[in-house]
């Protein structure tokens, strides 16, 4: 697509292996659909580097397509959503080739990523925060929850589709018979090498277990216990007031009931306005990262 004062908008893709009549061992991996998904682009770029090496050593058994950054148009100008009108491409799927600009972009992306056996999206949450790395499935009749264990990640989160989910890539992949998984890394705008490596290894594990690459799984991921979580298993801890948020605990940390998780400081007087306690014993799944917080924002999600 041509843009008015910038170079043409292209969606770069990397292909590994040969397309065959057997779609069973094919996968599409999609990175940044939003312009602030830097960690997600980095993970895809790392996969491109690793898979290039594997291809050189003839270890690709299936067909892989990677789109490290769909939304360069926004990323290059520091915008999260579509740069000219602030809309979200991940609310436009499956797209429409004769529709509005973002519907056309979504359509072009979807035409490229559909008809694969597996679809993996490096996703980010709509709120600014940090996650425990996990795989998320939007529950439909099309995706096998147990297959998510092949990523080797300890946490599998199964979400019932909300109204807005019906326009996401993950949901529409499933409608078009692709087993779709969204992988969440710890960060979005900042690169966190440690959690990026967890996700990279989990994707390599998945590809290996499903015969798409030949790789020694034992060398990449130790066997882990998998737990499936549902929305009901997540407890939101919301801020009782606004102020400056000082964390006393971080994502991934195991916590005890009544443990102090954070303090909210009055931004003018410096006095403690509120103390945030753990409502249950568990593990912190999500942490709000901004140091300024309003009333009733999610500070933590606990599993």
């Amino acid at each position: 697509m041509k843009t008015i004062y910038r170079e043409n908008l292209k969606i770069p893709e990397y292909v590994f292996g040969e397309k065959s009549d057997n779609p069973e061992n094919s996968v599409a991996i999609v990175g940044a659909l939003r312009g602030n998904e830097v960690q997600q682009t980095f993970i895809c770029a790392s996969l491109v580097r690793i898979l290039t090496e594997l291809e050189t050593n003839a270890k690709i058994r299936g067909y892989i397509k990677i789109f490290p950054c769909v939304n360069r148009y926004s990323m290059n100008v520091g915008k999260r959503f579509w740069a000219s009108d602030n809309t979200d491409i991940n609310r436009m799927f499956p797209g429409f080739c004769e529709g509005e600009t973002k519907q056309r972009v979504a359509d072009e992306v979807f035409e490229k990523v559909k008809n694969f056996k597996y679809g993996i999206q490096l996703a980010s949450f709509y709120l600014p925060g940090e996650f425990m790395p996990h795989v998320r499935i939007i529950k439909t009749a099309f995706t096998d929850t147990n297959e998510a264990f092949d990523f080797g990640l300890p946490n599998v989160f199964v979400a019932e589709p909300s109204p807005f989910d019906t326009a996401t890539l993950n949901y529409n992949w499933q409608i078009w018979n692709t087993s779709a998984y969204s992988l969440y890394s710890k960060t979005t705008e900042k690169i966190d090498i440690f959690s990026a490596d967890i996700i990279i290894n989990s994707i390599l594990t998945f590809l290996s277990k499903n015969g798409i690459i030949k790789y020694d799984i034992a060398t990449i991921t130790a066997k882990t216990e998998n737990t499936i979580y549902y929305k009901k298993d997540l407890v939101n801890v919301v801020s009782p007031c606004g102020g400056i948020l000082i964390h006393k605990a971080t994502s991934g940390e195991k916590i005890m009931k009544e443990q102090v998780l954070a303090e909210i400081i009055d931004p003018l007087s410096g006095n403690i306005k509120a103390v945030v306690y753990a409502p249950k014993t568990g593990q912190i799944f999500y942490t709000h990262t901004s140091n300024l917080i309003s009333e009733h924002e999610i500070v933590y999600r606990i599993i």
Binding site: M1, K2, T3, I4, Y5, R80, F81, S84, D85, N86, T87, R91, E98, G99, E100, T101, K102, Q103, R104, Y126, L127, P128, S162, P163, F164, T166, A167, N236, V238, S290, S294, E295, H296, E297, I298
Partner: protein
């Protein structure tokens, strides 16, 4: 003479009431942004409909269509979630506040398009609710009613959430986003008063002021002969219109050109049908696919 005096008397009464109400509401408006006020109680005392002047006051304050910080469109977050984040919570509270299982409720959800398009005042109705809503929509004094197919309905909007909870909701689109089109606003105020009278919410004066009445065009997506045609930009550039919004257009008529600002080359945009130009591009920069116009009409075959 008596009739004229009677009308003047009522006109004065309503002017006074409107001014007093507006003054009170405007005083409450600032407070409503930064603190809690009992707007529900206020409306109950006056026996007037609950007016939600603005559901995203922080967005208004930063001149933004979306919510601050997380930059989300509030009208894609309904029905919300009481246990969710602040805006999900807000959405859930709004839905709960407006709907009430014990009463028959109606709502008018007023929109002003976005900054890119100029809209003829219109009511948009999901075909699923056509039978209940079209008769109400006719009273709203809007020249155009668009009954659109269920397939294009966004389930995450306020209107969808309200209608699915038995609160009959009419969605109004008019003018341009972030702009005030006074005559459109005046038309709608008249329309809302008429709707309230129709529903028995408002006791109209014996001789109500004469309102301009529209016999609205009703467009149904399922109709084959007359329907809404979309005109999207075939290329990127600057759109320069050559027709006026609300013009009646002939099939093949030139709506404008898209000029490439670097090369000066231009492409002409032709109307795909004859009919009423009810949506026209306001913001000149277009990318391939940007909506240029919507025309309600028919095609010659």
């Amino acid at each position: 003479m008596q009739n004229k005096a009677n009308r003047l008397f009522w006109l004065g009464r309503y002017n006074e009431r409107v001014l007093t109400t507006l003054k009170y509401i405007l005083n409450l408006y600032d407070k409503s942004i930064d603190s809690e006020i009992d707007i529900d109680g206020y409306c109950r005392k006056l026996n007037i409909p609950n007016l939600y002047l603005v559901l995203n006051p922080l967005g208004i304050n930063i001149i933004s269509r979306v919510t601050p910080l997380c930059e989300l469109d509030l009208n894609r977050m309904f029905p919300g979630n009481k246990n969710g984040d602040v805006y999900e919570y807000l959405a859930a509270e709004i839905v709960e506040d407006i709907t009430d299982e014990n009463y028959e409720n109606w709502a008018v959800d007023i929109h002003a398009s976005n900054i890119y398009l100029r809209e003829l005042p219109q009511i948009r109705i999901n075909e699923q609710y056509e039978n209940e809503l079209v008769p109400l929509a006719k009273t709203l004094n809007m020249p155009f009613i668009w009954v659109h197919s269920s397939a294009t309905v966004l389930e995450s909007t306020l209107a969808y959430s309200l209608n699915s909870r038995n609160c009959k909701t009419l969605v109004v689109e008019m003018g341009v986003g972030m702009r005030l089109t006074q005559n459109y606003g005046d038309m709608l105020v008249d329309g809302i008063l008429t709707l309230m009278k129709e529903l028995g919410i408002w006791e109209a004066p014996p001789t109500p002021p004469k309102l301009p009445q529209y016999n609205p065009i009703i467009s149904r997506d399922k109709d084959n002969d007359l329907q809404v045609y979309f005109v999207n930009a075939p290329k990127t550039g600057l759109f320069i219109p050559e027709v006026n919004h609300t013009d009646n257009i002939k099939q093949g008529e030139r709506l404008g050109v898209i000029a490439d600002p670097l090369t000066g080359e231009s492409a002409e945009i032709l109307s795909p049908c004859r009919g009423l130009l009810f949506t026209l591009r306001e913001y000149p920069v277009v990318l391939e696919g940007s909506l240029i116009a919507r025309i309600y009409g028919a095609k010659k075959h």
